[in-house]
């Protein structure tokens, strides 16, 4: 994928993704994450799928899995970098606040640097996910490779 020079500049913000994590989608993600787990062990998803179970463990409700919204960030960066994400992408995120069923998550990414490395032009970004209250739930950094046209 070739880029226009104006897209590859410090401060450029990628188009954000805003998405509600419904219980239905959490159930689907839990079913996926347990696809390679022996059937007798497929109950831990209860933290993510059973509200009463989650409350019995002291949680305010069912929790979204961190990889669920990590996937949103990867989706943004796949759309932006294309091949330079699939071959050469790097993503590191710290999860700082719980995400509950029904929360709406907005994912953002802003370019913080561009440098040449052995693989080509590596573009670095700050990435984050915030909830509908504007609270950050996850923060981190990412980078991918670009060819500037």
């Amino acid at each position: 994928m070739e880029f226009e020079a104006e897209e590859i500049r410090i401060g450029y913000e990628l188009p954000p993704i805003k998405r509600m994590i419904t219980q239905e989608k959490m159930n689907a993600f839990s079913a996926f994450s347990e696809v390679n787990v022996e059937p007798s062990l497929r109950v831990s998803g209860a933290f993510h799928t059973d509200k009463e179970y989650a409350k019995s463990k002291g949680l305010p409700g069912t929790l979204a899995q961190s990889m669920h919204y990590y996937a949103f960030i990867s989706e943004m960066l796949t759309a932006f970098f294309g091949e330079g994400w699939v071959r050469g992408g790097r993503l590191a995120m710290t999860f700082i606040r719980m995400v509950l069923a029904g929360d709406t998550i907005t994912c953002r990414a802003v370019i913080t640097g561009v440098k040449k490395d052995d693989d080509g032009n590596r573009v670095s970004l700050d990435v984050s996910c915030e909830n509908q209250k504007g609270e950050k739930v996850a923060v981190g950094t990412a980078s991918g490779l670009v060819k500037v046209g």
């Binding site: 079913a31 996926f32 007798s40 062990l41 990889m67 669920h68 990590y70 990867s74 050469g88 993503l91």
Partner: protein, 137 residues
């Protein structure tokens, strides 16, 4: 009674897997529907010579790796790092292995770090991951 992984079960140097995943169209659709990502590269064609899976499709494999060996994994996920090296082609078999490379205590809470990697049936390295979490909620 279902076995649950206990904090004392996580030992530095412990190895996990191999786990095998066949990256089928159905598996990709299951993931894509859950996260609402329907990039045409996953269902039609891609610049890599056929449909690929989302790069992070196996990020959640830490759960399967640990649960298969220690019992149900629960706890608090604090950090996730990933490096995407090669595309995960639909139709390929992927083998995932992992190892606990660090274990530490911070503010009275125990943490461990699991590194795991995905390699396809031809030995091509696809993805490297590093999970950090606490076995306590």
């Amino acid at each position: 009674m279902v076995k649950e992984a206990k904090p004392e079960d996580y030992n530095l140097g412990d190895e996990f897997g191999p786990l095998e995943y066949r990256i089928t169209e159905g598996l990709v659709k299951m993931f894509s529907d859950a996260v609402e990502d329907h990039n045409p590269w996953y269902f039609e064609n891609s610049p890599f010579g056929g449909p690929i899976a989302p790069v992070i499709i196996l990020a959640e494999a830490y759960f399967s790796l640990i649960s298969a060996k220690l019992g149900i994994m629960s706890g608090y996920h604090t950090k996730q790092e990933a490096e995407f090296i090669n595309p995960i082609m639909v139709g390929k078999k992927v083998i995932v292995t992992g190892k606990i490379v660090d274990k530490y205590e911070k503010r009275g809470r125990q943490y461990f770090v699991l590194e795991y990697r995905c390699v396809d049936e031809d030995g091509l390295e696809l993805t490297r991951y590093r999970y950090t979490g606490s076995p306590y909620f």
